[in-house]
């Protein structure tokens, strides 16, 4: 059985919304990144608890009214990959799908 990959914030993050765009601050590196709404929502959900992709898709759909389909799942997957690359998010429990 393949273990489920859980995603979590690599460290506590600070963020601010300025005119609808989120900017996240990573204290460990001192880096700041502007985020689109999808990335900001993913981080907000992961701030509450580590989640697998499927659960992120489900929660995102219920919060935003979007359809929990493969388009949304692919977008979240891409976003997670980028957030992992920036070191804002980490995966545990198994290798990420990408």
């Amino acid at each position: 059985m393949n273990p489920v990959t859980l995603f979590h914030l690599s460290e506590p993050l600070a963020w601010r919304a300025l005119d609808g765009t989120w900017v996240v601050y990573q204290a460990r590196t001192g880096a700041m990144y502007p985020l689109d709404t999808l990335a900001a929502t993913v981080l907000t959900l992961l701030e509450s608890a580590p989640l697998p992709t499927a659960e992120l898709v489900s929660q995102m759909a219920s919060e935003s009214g979007l359809l929990a389909d493969s388009v949304l799942a692919d977008s979240i997957q891409d976003t997670l990959a980028q957030l992992c690359q920036l070191g804002l998010v980490a995966a545990v429990g198994g290798p990420p799908a990408w």
């Binding site: 600070a14 601010r16 300025l18 005119d19 765009t21 900017v23 204290a27 001192g30 700041m32």
Partner: protein, 325 residues
Amino acid sequence: MRLGQLPGRELQRRLQGDGLTLRTGPFGFRLRSPLPLVAQGLAQLYAQMPLIDDGRFIDFSLDIQHGSGLHRWLRPQACFRFDGQAVFEPLPAGHAYPLLEWAMNWCISTHAHQYLILHAAVLERGGGALLMPAPPGSGKSTLCAALALSGWRLLSDELALVSVSDGRIWPLCRPVGLKNASIDVIRGFAPHAEISRVTQGTAKGSVAHMKVPDAHVARMDEAAKTRWVVFPRFQAGASTMLARRPRADTLVELARNAFNIAVQAEAGFHMLADMVEGAGCFDFRYSNLPEAVASFDCLAGGELLPAGRLASTADPLAQTLVVTP
């Protein structure tokens, strides 16, 4: 007592002895140097600065000394020492005065972590601070000098000192560094401006410094809250243009211009975000200095356009405010 009240011989005696102690902005400096160019530069550019004669705390002690060994006579050098330690590579003795200015910048930017320090010019008008971060070569200092000579109060040409407690910006009131063509541009713009002798052949080219107007030094203890963040860019032949800039992007760019954001950490991030949130954020392009100054006067007066159309944030095309065609 002001530096300009010291007789020339006394100035030299102090510089060659225990040191000349003066205050610029919130910092006390003890300066020592036997090099005549340092004394001449200080006498010309720091005449209105208050001396510290009352045992007040000295933040930075720095020396601009002769080179050692053969360099005392052969290809004479100027060497910067901070608390007795050599910091930079020695420079030709003829570069002694710019070296002093760069050394003072270094002392502040690497030690004064009670402030969030941004690489930016700061001026004030009507109680609001205009913050202009920009890389070298952007025309920031030229614009800063012209504004300081046109009704804007100079807080700093190079280092913005942001208070970590309330986000206000504190003046430094040090001379404005001018490079290459900008020296003659400012001479032409304001023949009354007091500009030091030109030092040729530095790493930055020809450099000179413009004295801060006396009235600005007299208000050296008045901080100001940021009202505008403007990223200037000189572009030969370009029309003057002021364009709105997204605040999130402005925040990220301001952080890139911070010397010590890592030291200030999350508090610094929120401070910068607060600053950006409360300010008008713009990109500014110019080639004509009087036009550029007129644009800033309009900005301070609450008018974005002396001629042309007013921007609507709903119209992406109108995000660019062409000040003059």
